[in-house]
């Protein structure tokens, strides 16, 4: 591996460039015409314009991405997150064209992509799963039959889903028919696949996910968990590591489950095993993310391990260079996603051009962002502007530093709004500070949090 094509944009493209630099790898970044004058494009060793602003004709268009890699003599491709990152076809096309895909094999990707099938594989591997289906539910009638068996509340999920989209919680029999139809339509629109599966829904649970890393030689380790329970409609807003709800023994247990599950699907690279933690302290496997995740920096800050560099190294065939006993979690880290959205208006996108920018800095603050004065925030792409991450010796210290960092953050521009104030409100909220929250938190407290701020 010598030259890596980065099939992404924004902060994650910059993050991958930095990891490549650290490893002495050259970088090529692809970009749409919209993104021509952006930091990743300027910072990479080379850049290739692959299409117009619409993702379907640029970042999501496999032939353009692969051709760009071949044209620029890249020998590897890092897909980042989103876009084509969990596309088994891309992994296959890369292999056919002699490109090292930085991620799992096409086969493992395909196994993980179908969330109903993943449930079946994980059941087999002995992971605890909530009652539900391990194959797509074909009809409304079948949905009613399943509901009869597992009871309410339940959740309908798109088998091809991801990023928290295509999910509906159903709290009673009377809502099932409508929810089933609507969710199927959403799934069809969002993922071009209307298949749904059904799972018991847990009230008052936490979202706990385990970072795993596997090499191509059958070795896997976990790097501890992240608590991503501050969510709005299944979208992560703020993440932290470690979870304030876990004991060391629970951490070892869920970590071991995660590694077992990943190895069971023949996974290679960095991935995430998502679990729900119920009020009784039991973990339930939910799904696997076969990519680097937005929130990976909190794990990096508490373990000191560069996950993106690790992805590249295992993709190049390197054996894992450390064992489970070498992974030490030190202190606490919190990440706030600064999105171009207005929480007071249902998180409506608020895009525009950044005319005034101040990114936080200083001790124990890390900011991953592609923003600069003049950056145009386009409605074509996702709303993530910056990830502000704060480390502290303990949770309280990291929260205090995060408040300091948020106070330094300024992203202004006509039409722009951000989620900064919401984060400030959460970081000042007693319920959050006192041991963290469950998944119902933001839905229940949002009005309150954005009003008092």
């Amino acid at each position: 591996m010598r030259r890596v094509l980065i099939a992404n944009r924004g902060e994650i493209a910059l993050r991958i460039i930095r990891a490549c630099r650290d490893l002495g790898l050259e970088t090529v970044v692809v970009h749409s015409t919209q993104d021509r004058d952006t930091r990743p494009v300027r910072m990479a060793d080379a850049a290739v314009c692959i299409g117009p602003p619409e993702p379907a004709r640029s970042y999501l268009y496999t032939p353009a991405v692969v051709e760009a890699a071949l044209a620029s003599r890249a020998d590897a491709m890092h897909p980042g997150y989103g876009f084509l990152s969990e596309d088994a076809d891309l992994a296959a096309v890369c292999r056919e064209n002699g490109l090292t895909f930085v991620g799992p094999s096409a086969e493992a990707m395909a196994r993980v992509a179908d969330k109903a099938e993943t449930r079946a594989l994980m059941t087999e591997a002995g992971l605890p799963l909530l009652p539900g289906t391990t194959a797509a539910v074909q009809s409304e009638a079948e949905a009613f039959a399943v509901a009869e068996e597992i009871g309410f509340p339940l959740i309908l999920k798109a088998t091809a889903g991801g990023g928290g989209r295509g999910m509906t919680v159903v709290r009673g029999r009377e809502h099932l028919a409508k929810a089933f139809r609507e969710t199927r339509t959403q799934a069809k629109l969002a993922f071009n696949d209307g298949s749904l599966y059904i799972e018991r829904y847990l009230e008052g649970a936490r979202h706990i996910e385990v970072q795993i890393l596997c090499d191509a030689h059958g070795n896997g380790v976990h790097l501890g968990e992240r608590d991503c329970s501050v969510q709005r409609r299944h979208q992560k807003v703020l993440e932290e590591a470690p979870s304030p709800a876990l004991t060391p023994a629970m951490r070892d247990d869920v970590g071991a489950l995660a590694v077992r599950g990943a190895l069971a699907v023949g996974y290679q690279g960095a991935g995430t095993m998502e679990f729900l933690l119920d009020a009784e302290g039991r973990f339930w496997f939910m799904e696997m993310n076969a990519r680097i995740q937005v929130e990976h920096p909190v794990t990096e800050m508490v373990t000191g391990i560069d996950l993106v560099a690790a992805q590249l190294r295992v993709a190049a065939g390197e054996r894992l260079w450390f064992g489970q006993e070498d992974v030490k979690v030190t202190g606490h880290a919190i990440e706030c996603r600064i999105n171009a959205e207005e929480p007071r208006s249902g998180f409506a996108p608020r895009t525009g051009t950044v005319t005034d920018l101040a990114l936080p800095a200083g001790p124990w603050i890390r900011v991953d962002s592609h923003l600069e004065a003049g950056t145009h925030v386009s409605p074509h792409y996702d709303a993530l502007l910056a990830k502000v991450v704060a480390w502290g010796a303990d949770r309280e210290e990291s929260a205090r530093r995060m408040r300091r960092a948020l106070a330094e953050l300024r992203v202004e521009g006509r039409g722009l709004a951000t989620t900064r104030d919401l984060h400030e409100a959460v970081l000042g909220d007693a319920e959050f500070l006192d041991g963290g929250v469950t998944l119902d938190y933001l839905g229940r407290r949002l009005d309150d949090l954005v009003a008092t701020d």
Binding site: V48, G51, P63, A64, E67, R73
Partner: protein, 169 residues
């Protein structure tokens, strides 16, 4: 910088604008700070100088497909022969530019040729698929920009075409 001469702008205005501009620059300069923009107007003359926020060193770097042999091609917009007459026919995708259907064959077109709307003028190959590039209207080829076999980006000008209308103009 735009000097917008409408009808006959009095020479005095032009000269005055020049004086004012020099003055503004000297003063801005002596203030030790670099202005982002100076705009001035005198009668019918107006001048605008814009040092856009994009810092000089931050100007786009060569977006060339470096590393590919004989394939370092300037990016779209960087040097597309904009000074040349005619309209640019741009590449609809990233790929390899070919002037002929096969290495042995004659080029589809040469500079000076008159082509009809829809006529094939080049091929861009991507992922082993041949994408034909056709003339958007009737015209005379005034330039063929990449070399045969060059790698091209999306939007990169390939050929310049001077429209001739449906009849010879």
């Amino acid at each position: 910088m735009t000097t917008s001469d409408t009808d006959a702008t009095p020479a005095a205005d032009i000269a005055a604008a020049a004086i004012l501009l020099r003055e503004a620059l000297a003063i801005a300069d002596s203030s030790g700070r670099t202005p982002a923009r100076i705009a001035l107007a005198v009668g019918g003359a107006s001048v605008e100088v814009d040092w856009s926020q994009t810092p000089a060193a931050a100007a786009p770097q060569p977006l060339a497909l470096t590393g590919a042999p004989s394939a370092v091609v300037p990016a779209a917009g960087a040097d597309d022969g904009g000074a040349m007459p005619g309209i640019a026919v741009e590449s609809p995708l990233v790929g390899t530019f070919y002037r002929a259907p096969s290495p042995e064959a004659d080029p589809f077109v040469s500079v000076g040729d008159v082509v009809e709307e829809g006529q094939t003028i080049a091929i861009v190959e991507a992922m082993k698929l041949m994408n034909t590039i056709t003339a958007p209207e009737r015209g005379r080829i005034s330039a063929i920009l990449p070399e045969d076999g060059d790698r091209v980006e999306f939007g990169q000008p390939l050929v310049r075409l001077v429209p001739l209308g449906t009849d010879a103009a």
